[in-house]
């Protein structure tokens, strides 16, 4: 028997916000996000009622085909969404859903990932962003049994700090079918670990050179690096602006497509922060405001 927390069981036996949303008033919109697969044994339909003027979620509800943790994760997600703007909602991670429930068995973490994906699907639907063009679908297909790309595996590894292929399977099912892609998942884990190690080594070197920078010197150097990054973001319909520097915390405003992108955390941490640490100061932390 699974070792579920009391909160998981509470949300399973008494799920919040269950059912469909069909009625809306003027100035409101309803959007739906469907994820999961009957063959895999879990599927989630998430309903959001949106206040168009404020771009925020009025209510959220769900219908779930799945186990106790799938139902509890769906219920938890709808609770987390209360009062959020769509941009704020997009920043909710599967880890937050699991944490809200006091944790999930590792083999059930994919239930929390399903919740996060349904949320993205619902908001993308509302914003008219075709799901087929989701950046995760642009990656190479790794797990053909469950149709999962390398980009998605990479994202889940980074967001959850996964270290083994078994963990990847627990979180997104990749590798859990025929198992023929497990070696590819191992390769991805290895390359991500190597990237991290490389970044740490280079930033250590940089810190020795830049440890004595004044605040003005830091800002100037940060601006130079950001100017190098901006053309790439602009080409994707986004942009950024340096708002402030407090100690070693770099405060950025993400604009356009970057502001609503589900992968903005990865862009911030793996793209911008890593580059700033490499080229300016290893102790810099980037935050979006």
């Amino acid at each position: 028997m699974w070792d579920y927390t009391d909160k998981v069981m509470e949300h399973f036996y008494h799920p919040r916000n269950q059912g469909a949303i069909s009625a809306s008033n003027e100035g409101e919109a309803i959007t739906i996000g469907d994820v999961g697969s009957i063959s895999c044994g879990d599927a989630l339909r998430l309903y959001l009622k949106i206040d168009i003027a404020t771009d925020s979620i009025i209510t959220a509800s769900f219908q779930t085909f799945g186990c106790a943790s799938a139902i509890a994760s769906s219920s938890a997600l709808t609770e987390l969404l209360k009062g959020q703007t769509l941009d704020e909602a997009l920043k909710i991670t599967n880890r937050e859903i699991a944490d809200f429930l006091g944790g999930l068995p590792e083999a059930k973490m994919h239930c929390s990932v399903m919740g996060q994906e349904a949320l993205e699907a619902a908001i993308f639907n509302y914003r008219g962003i075709p799901l087929d063009n989701h950046e995760e679908d642009e990656g190479a297909l790794v797990c053909s049994c469950f149709g999962i790309s390398d980009a998605k595996i990479r994202r889940v590894i980074l967001e959850n700090e996964l270290e083994t292929a078994e963990q990847v399977t627990n979180y997104i099912k990749a590798g859990g079918g025929c198992g023929s892609c497990l070696a590819d998942i191992d390769d991805l884990l290895y390359s991500i670990a190597a990237e991290k190690a490389n970044t740490i080594a280079r930033t250590t070197e940089v810190v020795n050179n830049y440890a004595t920078l004044t605040t003005v010197q830091k800002i100037n150097r940060i601006q130079q690096v950001l100017e190098e990054i901006r053309p790439t973001l602009i080409a994707d319909g986004g942009d950024l602006e340096l708002l402030d520097l407090e100690g070693d915390v770099v405060k950025l405003v993400l604009k356009g497509a970057c502001g609503s992108c589900s992968s903005s955390t990865i862009t911030l941490k793996m793209g911008i922060e890593a580059k700033l640490r490499e080229k300016v100061l290893s102790t810099l932390v980037v935050e979006a405001v």
Partner: protein
């Protein structure tokens, strides 16, 4: 631990009090080694002799010498299959079915890596074999046909003697995994084509950790465990005397209770028919008649098995499910999949397996709470709404694969 309504007897059973009473002295007073020359061990040896006779009697063996005590069903299956292959090293083909227990399936997959070819016979929507497929698969190179007597998940019984007759025409050995059958339906090895038959104690009210393998007299056999001379050289290792005594007593009691097995079937049928008539979109998985009298596997469409099980558990009711979520694997029951059931049914399948201890009151309690549980979970399901489009798309996508 709270009282429970235990309907998971195909997983394991309660130890009968008479069985417990029979085995206890061999854990305390009579702890001698039956292989010892002194009388303290010798009296223990007499108890194991009686136990062997009791097991032989239940399955209608010609002689107690045909009984080899093992540690469990898995060991019995492994010992039989490997013995059959070692005894016929020139033959490299095995026939089994897609719906076997992992004790057989996993071993066969492993043997494929060692150079054996394995034919996995399919089943139809009611879990039955097509004997023409078996006939087409048998060759002079077939060393062994290993088939379960009845399926652990659906209870579907295979036509064992028909299969055995076909196997004998090709000179292959015939092993039957009868773990779910022994004690539930009468067996008579003296009138059977079976060469080897596996049984397990904890499925018939003996404790876990004891089983037996029937090996027909004259069958070429090579032991899995090699060491001392125990079990007439067929299974080395100091005997689990309390377990053997317990299994013997359990077999004696099972033989007695076989005359009253209609009690289980009556309750099973009552449970099954009541569910089918009171809860819509339900179906029995497996053949309606060719089934064990104690087993009912029911598919509850649109909902998932683990959610049903946990909801039943809240009322102290124990059953089991072949859903992926229950097992921790990502694949649902290989048995139900082999039967070609739609995913919307097989993920929500629940197995109720009764025993001679099951009462009418217990079944009534299940019938009292189950409709409410199913209603609650279906109200949560996206596939139970008026809009069936999504489910249809999903099912079609699976078929297209």
């Amino acid at each position: 631990m709270r009282d429970c309504i235990y309907l998971d007897n195909n997983a394991t059973t309660k130890i009968d009090e008479e069985v417990l009473a029979a085995m206890l002295p061999y854990l305390t007073l009579y702890y001698g080694n039956p292989s010892s020359m002194h009388s303290f061990g010798g009296q223990v040896g007499k108890a194991t002799k009686t136990a062997r006779e009791q097991v032989a009697s239940l399955i209608g063996a010609q002689s107690p010498a045909e009984i080899v005590f093992t540690s469990c069903g898995t060991e019995g299956d492994n010992a039989a299959i490997r013995a059959a292959l070692m005894a016929q090293p020139e033959k490299k083909h095995i026939i089994t079915t897609e719906v076997e227990h992992p004790a057989v399936l996993s071993l066969c997959k492993n043997l494929e890596k060692q150079g054996y070819s394995v034919t996995y016979l399919s089943v139809n929507g009611q879990g039955q074999l097509d004997l023409s497929e078996l006939e087409a698969s048998l060759t002079g190179n077939t060393a062994l046909v290993t088939v379960m007597y009845a399926n652990n998940e659906t209870g579907v019984i295979f036509p064992i003697e028909q299969i055995g007759s076909m196997v004998k025409e090709y000179g292959a050995l015939f092993h039957v995994d009868a773990v779910q059958v022994v004690g539930k339906i009468p067996l008579n090895m003296q009138e059977s084509t079976i060469d080897m038959l596996t049984l397990s104690g904890h499925k018939l009210h003996a404790p876990k950790g004891i089983g037996a393998l029937y090996v027909r007299r004259g069958t070429r056999f090579r032991p899995l465990l090699i060491g001392g001379h125990q079990e007439r050289g067929r299974r080395a290792g100091t005997e689990n005397v309390p377990g053997m005594v317990a299994l013997g007593k359990a077999c004696e009691l099972a033989e007695y209770h076989l005359i009253n097995v209609g009690h289980e079937q009556q309750l099973r049928d009552y449970l099954e028919q009541s569910i089918l008539t009171t809860i819509p979109n339900t179906a029995v998985n497996g053949h309606p008649v060719q089934r064990l009298p104690n087993t009912s596997n029911i598919g509850f469409k649109y909902i998932e098995g683990e959610a049903i099980l946990l909801s039943l558990d809240q009322f102290g009711i124990c059953a089991s499910s072949g859903s992926a979520c229950t097992s921790g694997s990502l694949e649902p029951s290989h048995v139900l999949r082999a039967m070609g059931l739609p995913y919307s049914v097989l993920h929500g399948s629940i197995r109720f397996s009764l025993s001679r201890y099951t009462t009418q009151t217990e079944i009534d309690r299940v019938l009292e709470v189950l409709p409410g549980i199913i209603d609650r979970l279906r109200a949560l399901s996206p596939f139970n709404s008026d809009d069936a489009t999504w489910l249809q798309e999903q099912e079609q996508a699976v078929l297209a694969k």
